[in-house]
Symmetry: C2
Subunit: 325 residues, 2 copies
Amino acid sequence: MTRGPLVESRHRGAVAVSDAEGQIIFALGDVTAPVFPRSAVKALQALPLIEQGAADRFGLSDEELALACASHSGEAAHVAGVEHMLTKAGFAPSDLRCGAHWPIAQAAAAAVARSGAPLPLHNNCSGKHAGFLCVAGAIGVDHADYWRPEHPVQRLVRSVLEDFTGTALGEACCAIDGCSVPTWAVPLHNLAHGFAKFGTGRGISAERARAAARLRHACAKAPWYVAGTGRFCTDIMQLFGERMFVKTGAEGVYCAALPQQGLGIAVKCDDGASRAAQAIMATVIARFLPLAASERPALTRFVEPVLRNWNGFDVGQIRISDALR
Amino acid sequence: MTRGPLVESRHRGAVAVSDAEGQIIFALGDVTAPVFPRSAVKALQALPLIEQGAADRFGLSDEELALACASHSGEAAHVAGVEHMLTKAGFAPSDLRCGAHWPIAQAAAAAVARSGAPLPLHNNCSGKHAGFLCVAGAIGVDHADYWRPEHPVQRLVRSVLEDFTGTALGEACCAIDGCSVPTWAVPLHNLAHGFAKFGTGRGISAERARAAARLRHACAKAPWYVAGTGRFCTDIMQLFGERMFVKTGAEGVYCAALPQQGLGIAVKCDDGASRAAQAIMATVIARFLPLAASERPALTRFVEPVLRNWNGFDVGQIRISDALR
């Protein structure tokens, strides 16, 4: 991060790009240390929703499947969509156990402030949680503790994560996420490998590959529901459609799949900064996704964005190190 | 930062502790590289307010002097105080050139959302800007461009910063701050030295030493006005009164003075993270400020704070490295 003539702050991180066979195509930094993927694996956490028949049984739309994979901004249509999912499956907003926070979108937060206080529906993870409830409903188990590691829903999720990342997930790598469900630490290499499998369907069962493709298609069709207005994941997937799946997670994580190239990408910024992880991910996408000249500017504006102050003056820029460039 | 059984994110930084003669008492990391101090030097930027007679002429209270040194949370009494300062000196909120942003305090932001949109008065720097306007009024210059580097007010500020830090400040180290005034990069060692002088009055003129003491006393008497409810700078100065001056700046900077020990402290987190810079500063204070046993818990809760998620569950902790401990 520069300010005027000098570097003001510096971020470090690691990147792994893998093919569907687990071969590393590109790596920088330590890609073997365990990383909590946080929300970057929501699409994998949403797979039981398809595989257990919940999406079909409750007639979930592409927008609703995208919400199950989302860290949404809490804008009105996100909140309405999650509420609709819950209603379809016979649940209520009071069944959500994600906790409440103000909408990520400033305008949405201001609107909530005008009418009251934020609810669990506004939590960026409410769509994922609605998905978990749908799975509990579909498999016919009590839903009250759906967020606990030992609940059947979270056991299904863990099994999916183990299959995609090729790791055994136990207590030694388990922590509690911001929304209270388990998050399982996995090396960046394995995360990248998992997203190469997610993007290609290779290395997983045919049924699982179809479920993954359905979620990718839903996100490509309804990318606004995966994040929101002006957000990186939404803008990138709007730009590239089926050619790209990308998802952010807290503490500087990004995961992506490039189905046509057969590649998965995983990024972790050591210090947890999203601003750096996003610039790193944009740089890696620009390197591995073949782009038409007309597509390049829309992506490269995320690579080295200008920083503006409260008066809108240019005060600095994010710059990518030579090692990554 | 830990999450469950693992380290999730890592921050690096540098610390300098200096005496008033510029001797380094303690240092970690690079203390010679230029660092933009941002809002951490607001108390130095406020000195012309005393030295040019503006504080006396306009009858500014301790609370208003504290606001001139503040990165306030935009709570109602902060905003009212800044408006009062402006009125006393014959200015209006429309004269502020800091730009607008939502109040730092969530409850204050919600209150602003209910009644409208944020104004420059809500900007955390509005008290500093009101101070600059007061100086322009006192020295009888046109105030319109008070924020520009070449304006007499900013020339006075630069001269104060040069005197305290013992550096020559030119274009090569000048950038634009979030609120549009110049910010001058200075090595951490020089910042620590400057705050040792600020805390002791040694190495500066007697008049300047009196002005510095007046600002320190004002902040010690009205620490809520320097930051706000629940903020680190406010809580620490409420705890230690005249024994401690501490001020945060954007991008992971903290400066502090320990007058009785004759020490100045400057901290920069490489990646700009306030959460880490605050834990570092709390650790250094605990090391160099003699504490009664009864005072220790109130400080050490900032050293290794527990992290809670949206449901209030303990999910991890900030931990200090052995090198700093």
